[in-house]
């Protein structure tokens, strides 16, 4: 028999247990209510992000072709060893477990890489988490087999083929094609890269960059339903990759090959030339441009020295990039034809001559004395042809003989006129801009320089920016020295645009700067009845199935703004440069069948002391109905007639199918330092 007190005591104890039980169950219900009803939405999202994995498939990039359909860049499948970051690494970028560590060790051994290197590539934040990270691109088939045969040793390692850029013609047109590289973190933040993801490739220079939107294509995307082990169970939605469109350029394969070769040959050959002072010409670098005289299309463009875009496939090595960036190597990555800034020298005289006619100082036919020298405020500005008075000259003669003093005289008169005017009309700046100087041409290549046509405003701004430096230099220089005098003058009066500045500008010296492309565009306008066209490389964009998506039509940048007479007189002067023995360029064209293919052109020798002058030649042919404009610049190549004109001659000969007697060899012209 239970004692009543014990009975009630056990009921009490059971009640205590019941209360405890109820409390625990209430806790469970409360927590479930919170998780499932109050926070349920968030967990639904988490569940979806768990099971759906987005996988990106690369779209093959479009090809870049010559006008005649030869591929300059195309794609090649490259065997690649990639690895899944989500399988091997944790959030901190360390191997998830010992097994992953062993896999990475094995991978490093197989690929002959350091373990740290593999880890670094795998953890790179520049890579999208939505696709395997390429660890080694362009591996041998043996390596792929090694991974495929022993899958159990390499969980998370994926052998795949990725499309990589291939250059059937090697370094040909490297500056024009450009290269591609991984998009940077900064670029990803910019609006134009909104639909890019980390790890995407993007055009880094050249046409690859300027036609990025056409060439890129649309990456494919698949939403995979995956289980916890990463096995794909279902494909939810699928967007096939859309191959990028091809770009057909105006480049002529044969002419491009020849232009590059002839430029290089000419530069190398000119290094054998001894100047009057007995020194060999340095001819450190150069560029050449061939434009279609009627459309402004670029038929060929070369820049020397060049680089190998194949080194950029799968990521450029630090070593090679440093080689390219070293100033000792003349910066081969720079496309000098569009980015090189040089004083144009005498090739600028077409623009300045037209300016003085425009200013009303002369008519095209009125004459000015071509004196041996021009005196100005105690300074002597000599004609290049030292000591000889060449007599009275009109604009045509002044161009043919490249007479400096003709331009000095007019420039000084114009300067005086401007100085006396309340609001000076700086004619040279205005007309030079009509000729395309000082303004980028807008060619479809990135990195084009604008050049400079200086004037009063520029001089003032420059002085403001440099005044402190001038004054400090003046203080530092020893009293009575030339430096002291120069710097204290600049310090006090450096803001003034002086007569000497105007005189120098008139022959493309002083502070005038221009790219070879600007020179080419202005001569193309002279050859093409005064219409300045926008040079371009792209001809049309073609879809992979062959339909033309877009024709790239010639665009007019403007008109030279000179009268027909002025234009004809200029053309006459340029013709005589080559066609008559008096012309500064005639020596370089000896042996060229000028009776069949008459050529017009202009030499230029730009001083950039203390360097050896820069050689220029700008020409077009045939005279009656110009087909091509050719411009060559050789840095420290001496006289334009000496090194640049012979290269132009050889390019023209190649274009017109002329076999020159001295075909294989480069024959320098006379050393005329105009």
């Amino acid at each position: 028999m239970a004692i009543p007190s014990a009975e009630s005591s056990s009921v009490l104890r059971l009640t205590f247990l019941a209360v405890m039980v109820i409390t625990l169950f209430v806790a469970l219900f409360a927590r479930l209510w919170f998780l499932q009803v109050m926070a349920g939405d968030r967990y639904v999202e988490l569940a979806d992000s768990n099971r759906l994995r987005t996988v990106i498939t690369e779209a093959p990039r479009g090809e870049i072709l010559t006008a005649d359909g030869h591929a300059l860049v195309r794609n090649r499948p490259a065997l690649t060893i990639s690895a899944d970051r989500q399988v091997l690494l944790d959030a901190a970028g360390d191997p998830v477990d010992e097994e992953a560590e062993r896999v990475i060790d094995r991978l490093a051994l197989l690929l002959e890489l350091e373990v740290d290197e593999v880890l670094e590539r795998l953890a790179s934040q520049r890579r999208s988490p939505f696709r395997p990270v390429p660890i080694a691109i362009d591996v041998t088939p043996e390596i792929v087999f090694a991974v495929q045969e022993r899958r159990e040793l390499f969980p998370g390692v994926v052998p795949e083929t990725l499309p990589v850029r291939e250059y059937p013609h090697g370094t040909l047109a490297a500056h024009l094609l450009g290269y591609i590289g991984e998009i940077s973190q900064q670029e990803l933040l910019r609006p134009e890269f909104a639909d890019y993801r980390a790890g995407d490739l993007v055009g880094r220079s050249g046409l690859e960059q300027s036609y990025e939107a056409d060439l890129r294509g649309v990456p494919g995307q698949r939403r995979l339903v995956v289980n916890a082990r990463g096995d794909v169970l279902d494909v939810q939605s699928d967007r096939e990759p859309v191959q990028g469109a091809d770009l057909v350029t105006s480049l002529d394969l044969d002419l491009q090959l020849a232009t590059e070769q002839l430029l290089e040959d000419g530069i190398l050959a000119s290094r054998e030339i001894r100047r009057d002072d007995g020194q060999l010409l340095p001819s450190t670098a150069g560029s050449a441009i061939v434009l279609d005289a009627r459309t402004g299309a670029v038929l060929a463009m070369a820049s020397y020295p060049t680089y190998d875009p194949r080194e950029f496939v799968g990521g450029v090595s630090q070593e090679y990039f440093e080689l390219l960036a070293d100033p000792e190597n003349e910066r081969p990555l720079v496309n000098r034809a569009i980015s090189g800034l040089y004083p144009p020298g005498s090739v600028f005289k077409t623009a300045s001559g037209a300016a003085f006619v425009e200013a009303g100082l002369v008519t095209p036919r009125s004459t000015v004395e071509c004196a041996p020298a021009f005196e100005l405020g105690g300074n002597t500005f000599r004609n290049w042809n030292r000591g000889v008075n060449e007599g009275m000259m009109d604009l045509s003669d002044a161009l043919t003989r490249s007479c400096d003093t003709y331009f000095y005289e007019l420039a000084f008169n114009q300067w005086l006129r401007e100085e006396n005017a309340d609001e000076p009309d700086e004619v040279l700046i205005r007309v030079a801009e009509q000729f395309g100087f000082g303004v980028a041409t807008g060619i479809d290549l990135p990195g084009e320089a604008s050049g400079r046509v200086p004037g009063r405003q520029w001089r003032f701004d420059y002085w403001v920016a440099n005044r402190d430096n001038y004054c400090r230099q003046a203080d530092l220089a020893s009293p009575g020295s030339y430096a002291r005098e120069l710097y204290s003058d600049l310090c006090q009066f450096g803001a003034a645009w002086r007569g000497g500045d105007a005189v120098n500008s008139s022959i493309g010296q002083g502070d005038v700067l221009s790219t070879p492309l600007q020179v080419a565009a202005s001569y193309q306008a002279i050859a093409n009845d005064g219409v300045l066209l926008r040079p371009h490389l792209g001809a049309r964009v073609v879809a992979p199935d062959g339909t033309v998506l877009r024709e790239i039509e010639p665009e007019v940048n403007g008109e030279l703004g000179v009268s027909d007479q002025t234009l004809r007189v200029m053309q006459e002067g340029l013709e005589r440069v080559v066609m008559t023995d008096r012309g500064t360029g005639s020596s370089a064209f000896r042996g060229f069948p000028l009776d069949e293919i008459p050529v017009a052109g202009k030499t230029g020798t730009a001083e950039l002391r203390p360097k050896v002058p820069y050689a220029w030649f700008a020409g077009y042919a045939p005279i009656d109905d110009p087909e091509i404009v050719v411009v060559v610049n050789v840095e420290q190549g001496g006289g334009g007639s000496q090194t640049a004109a012979p290269i132009v001659r050889n390019i023209m000969a190649h274009y017109f199918g002329i076999v020159l007697a001295d075909d294989a060899e480069f024959e320098a012209g006379e050393e005329i330092l105009d």
Partner: protein, 392 residues
């Protein structure tokens, strides 16, 4: 006039004797608790559905029959029902007599598990394989500890002294230690908890209870400090504290995190049977055993979870009722003890899936896949029925 068949008094006595004997045996059956049995069966059926759903995709992808786990569990259910009937029929008071035998058998089996005969899986050695079936002696040991300690306290007639307390404690700690070495932290907690609740119900004096509580806390601290608990257990125990933190990608936190996602994404009404992505894509590990509740919560939502917890509460209610109605201390202790074990396992198991308890390998009664567990739980239902039937 003969009014009819006159019964021979002897015959009548004999018949009445037979009748009464028969009634005596039959009598308790009239006092069955159908609610208890039906609730247990309902939970088992829900468990079968959840197990089927949990393993459907995984088994299909492995090319195995989808009923693999369910059929094994059904067999365990059949055995469980038989065991329940047997346990219910034999007067529970005999349990006081056979308790030592059950206890010794359990301890023996737990020893065998730790020997090379035992089967290891997932870093723990918990099973003995007999004839193609894996037996988990620690489940049986729960029953053994329960009836042994209840019997001792019953003998103490409501006045358990220090000797009784110490004796019961020693008898509890032997299987606790053996289970702990497997290592099965969860089940060893169940033993200690069972004894603690039985002490409370059995009238052990408050000062002993307080003393035991303090000793327990000290023991846990010492265990953690001296690394008696293996490192993986500690990390599993603490992982739930920072679940939901995205950086906690460690394996332990992964379980808890995926479990929370499964439960939470079920929302109010659930995703529907077989529609749970966390479940079918195996994001939640062990989701047919320890994490079975995530399947129910994901596919049937708060409603389904509530039904399951509600049914478990019904069991608790019937169990408490039986404990109160029990005619002796032993019955009251056994019934109360069963309620305590049930509550602890439900709270630890469900709490683990919803991130309020650490990850320990305790199955959800009647629902989790696992034959031994199911059979032992039906045995406990049998015990409850037994106590209920013989309450007069």
């Amino acid at each position: 006039m003969d009014v009819g068949y006159r019964q021979d008094p002897d015959q009548r006595r004999a018949r009445e004797h037979v009748q009464s004997r028969w009634m005596e045996v039959y009598d308790p059956v009239r006092h069955l608790d159908p609610v208890l049995v039906l609730t247990a069966l309902a939970l088992t059926v829900i468990g079968l559905v959840a197990i089927y759903s949990a393993k459907l995709v995984a088994l299909t992808s492995q090319g195995l029959p989808t009923s693999l786990y369910v059929s094994r569990q059904l067999l365990a259910l059949a055995i469980g029902v038989v065991v329940m009937v047997v346990v219910a029929v034999i007067d529970y008071r005999y349990a006081r007599i056979y308790a030592p035998a059950v206890y010794l058998l359990s301890v023996l089996l737990l020893g065998v598990v730790l020997s090379p005969v035992g089967t290891a899986f997932g870093g723990a050695q918990r099973w003995i394989v007999v004839g193609g079936f894996q037996l988990q002696p620690s489940e049986l040991a729960k029953l053994a500890v329960l009836i042994t300690v209840a019997a001792i306290l019953h003998e103490a007639k409501g006045q358990p002294g220090l000797g009784v307390v110490v004796g019961a404690l020693v008898l509890t700690l032997i299987p606790t230690a053996l289970v702990f070495l497997q290592p099965d932290f969860g089940t060893s907690i169940v033993f200690v908890w069972t004894t603690a609740v039985l002490f409370l119900l059995g009238g052990v004096q408050a000062r002993y209870l307080v003393g035991l509580a303090i000793a327990g806390v000290v023991a846990v601290i010492v265990a953690l400090q001296t690394e008696v608990i293996q490192a993986y257990q500690v990390s599993r125990l603490t992982a739930f504290l920072n679940a939901g933190d995205a950086s906690a990608a460690q394996t332990a936190a992964f379980q808890t995190r995926q479990s929370l996602i499964a439960v939470g994404s079920g929302q109010f009404a659930g995703k529907g049977l077989f529609e749970g992505t966390q479940t079918s894509l195996s994001y939640v590990p062990e989701n047919h055993t320890d994490f079975i509740f995530t399947v129910i919560a994901e596919e049937f939502g708060f409603l389904g979870s509530s039904v399951v917890l509600g049914l478990l509460l019904v069991l608790v209610w019937r169990g408490l009722r039986i404990a109160i109605l029990a005619k002796d201390t032993f019955g009251m202790l056994v019934a109360g003890g069963i309620v305590a074990i049930l509550t602890l396992q439900v709270f630890v198991n469900v709490g683990m899936t919803i991130g309020i308890m650490p990850v320990t390998g305790l199955p959800l009664p009647f629902i989790s896949y696992g034959g031994t567990s199911l059979i032992v739980w039906f045995a406990m239902i049998g015990l409850l029925l037994n106590i209920h039937m013989r309450r007069f």
